[in-house]
């Protein structure tokens, strides 16, 4: 049995005899020497990851103004920062969007601009008190003017992350990037073989107080991150570091079309090889790490998994989705992750960085629960009209017009011979056909690209679909595409009117 202490390893860092390798290099070393041989040979294994970590932000302290103000509302370059923590402290979060520029500029951009030494416009307001009489402050600052700029990221370094695809017939813009229709692509995030938490899955050396690489500077692990869910392999970390020492090489603002801003955070954890179990764990490969491929076409937090997939498969460039070969995109940069693992390795070899043991271990058996909802959200099935008139695709224009007149429905779901939904015909389609004097069959004048819902979908999702697709009714279909009802924007308005 090999046993080493942190003090021994730090002694080797001090005298320059330490042997440090990256988690990628460790795979072959353990393969060649076995876990015991590798544990004797290697002192520290470095990891790294560089990807979008939305749950990130920075605590800022501006110093007191003259006359003093206790800021209660604050904007930095027109991005709101939380300042409900007295006087002149504020927290700028990565995903907060600018009031004027919207999604293209957000808290993440303020953070990157601070690191780059750029000027930031500050606008703060206050009710004014006897001790803090000032009511408004407008000034321009840069990072050097701040007393503190402390990065504190509540949820970073996800152990692994679900991969994403889209089963619907339209493009989705998500925090997992553009997801093309009909499983047109797959996106994923995470550094696989270099993933920090996967190289120490029992959190033996990763815990409160562990010294790490954060944004190009030395930082620390505060403890478990929010939504830390080790039971299902989705551990997270809360991280802290000094923004003033960080580099824009490793902290980058990003914006996802249709979603908003996020912060790309570069971080790495050194894993001291104290024994052969740790050595064995650091030999984890892309093929060992399994995640789920989720269908983001399902607008629920409980998205179904289409299949499980390894990081090895994801990183090969394409994977099989329901029999089709689909191209994958990584949203995190493996090149940068490798750069981080190598830089951390150089720091340790150069005697600039010492490894540490956690003062408190992370929990290994907790799970993450969903939000408690005190009121039950109605479902589409609760308010839809079940008595819906449908029309056959082969029916004539006149039949359709007559049905709309007789039944007073302005939307007719169109079905084929098997009664499966194939389109929708609206009073507007009828008018259009009349204007063009094209009295064809229903299938020639109907709208084929129809947005649908199902009885067990939440009303909020149906309302979002109506709004984002700019339509006024959704056919409600079952799993076999049979029409079981229709829900209109009127139905939803009436529901809201009853609620108030």
């Amino acid at each position: 049995m090999v046993k080493k202490t942190i003090h021994e390893i730090n002694g080797r860092i001090r005298d320059g005899s330490v042997n440090v390798v990256t988690a990628e290099e460790m795979v072959d070393i353990v393969g060649e020497l076995g876990a015991e041989g590798a544990a004797k040979e290697v002192d520290v294994v470095t990891t790294g990851t560089f990807g979008a970590m939305c749950s990130s932000g920075v605590w800022l302290n501006f110093g007191h103004s003259e006359p003093p103000i206790r800021i209660s509302k604050l904007w930095l370059n027109d991005v709101e920062a939380y300042s409900g923590v007295a006087a002149v402290d504020a927290y700028i979060g990565a995903t907060q969007a600018s009031r004027s520029k919207g999604m293209e500029y957000g808290g993440a951009h303020v953070i990157e601009d601070l690191i780059r030494g750029r000027s930031i416009d500050v606008h703060g307001t206050s009710p004014g008190t006897d001790c803090y009489p000032r009511k408004v402050i407008d000034t321009t600052i840069n990072i050097y003017d701040l007393n503190q700029a402390i990065m504190l990221n509540p949820r970073n370094a996800y152990q692994k992350y679900n991969a994403a695809t889209n089963s619907t017939n339209h493009t989705l813009n998500t925090y997992m990037g553009t997801l093309l229709p009909n499983h047109g692509n797959v996106t994923y995030s995470g550094a696989g073989v270099l993933s920090p938490m996967h190289n120490d899955p029992n959190y033996e050396t990763i815990g409160t107080g562990t010294r790490i690489f954060l944004g190009g500077a030395q930082g620390y692990i505060v403890g478990e991150g929010t939504q830390h869910s080790p039971e299902s392999g989705f551990g997270t970390l809360m991280l802290k570091g000094d923004l003033k020492e960080m580099s824009s090489e490793y902290i980058r603002a990003a914006s996802f079309e249709g979603y908003g801003t996020s912060l790309y955070v570069g971080m790495g954890i050194p894993i001291p090889v104290l024994n052969e179990d740790i050595a064995k764990a650091t030999a984890v490969t892309d093929d060992d790490i399994v995640t789920n491929l989720l269908d983001y076409g399902i607008p629920s937090s409980d998205r179904p998994a289409i299949r499980t997939v390894t990081y090895g498969e994801l990183r090969s460039g394409s994977i099989d989705v329901n029999g089709k070969e689909v191209t994958t995109s990584s949203l995190s940069s493996f090149k940068k992750s490798r750069q981080i693992a190598n830089e951390l390795k150089d720091w340790i070899k150069g005697g600039e960085f010492f490894v540490s043991m956690p003062v408190e271990r992370l929990s290994r058996d907790t799970a993450c629960n969903s939000m408690k909802l005190s009121s039950v959200n109605p479902l589409v099935g609760d308010i839809m009209t079940s008595d819906v008139s449908i029309i056959q695709a082969e029916a004539s224009f006149n039949d359709a017009a007559k049905t709309i007149m007789d039944k007073q429905f302005s939307h007719l779901p169109v079905v084929d011979k098997d009664n499966s939904l194939v389109g929708i015909l609206t009073a507007w389609d009828i008018s259009k056909a009349v204007a063009k004097a094209e009295y064809d069959l229903v299938k020639d004048i109907m709208t084929k690209d129809v947005v649908t819902t199902s009885p067990d979908e939440a009303i909020d999702i149906a309302a979002f679909k109506l709004d984002s697709n700019n339509v006024s009714a959704l056919p409600v279909i079952d799993s076999k595409k049979k029409v079981v009802g229709i829900i209109t924007s009127d139905d939803i308005s009436k529901l809201l009117a009853r609620r108030q």
């Binding site: 093309l180 996106t187 914006s255 191209t327 995109s329 990584s330 995190s332």
Partner: protein
């Protein structure tokens, strides 16, 4: 040279490509075609000396013809080489090399712009 021919839905049923080819004798080599209920788009190679006449013929028949001579360009400072663009490009302009650097092959670009909105770092540009 590479050209993009856009065809409005109102004329999409007319054989204007065939007519233009017969009329001009131009050797149009179609590499991509996409049609949906709003419009049609064809990407083709054409010998440059024949470009003028086939463009005139197609434009007369109601199509729009654009020369694909300003392919995608990348701001290497902004790009973090994640590879988000790889899977949204319909013609495989982007790929990751053995060392996980992003490789860009602008010759393949059909200027569709799909990668512009995908890029989280706004590092891709068209028409510069």
């Amino acid at each position: 040279m590479k050209i993009k021919i856009s065809i409005e839905s109102s004329i999409v049923t007319k054989p204007i490509l065939a007519e233009a080819i017969v009329e001009t004798g131009a050797l149009l080599n179609i590499s991509q075609a996409h049609f949906d209920n709003t419009h049609g788009e064809v990407v083709a190679d054409i010998p440059s000396e024949q470009f003028g006449k086939i463009r005139d013929s197609l434009v007369k028949k109601g199509a729009e013809v654009v020369v694909l001579d300003t392919p995608i360009s990348r701001d290497e400072e902004e790009c973090v080489e994640c590879g988000a663009c790889v899977s949204v490009c319909p013609v495989g302009v982007f790929s990751l090399a053995d060392d996980w650097s992003l490789e860009v092959d602008p010759d393949k670009c059909i200027q569709c712009g799909a990668c512009l909105t995908m890029c989280p770092h706004n590092a891709l540009f068209l028409g510069q």
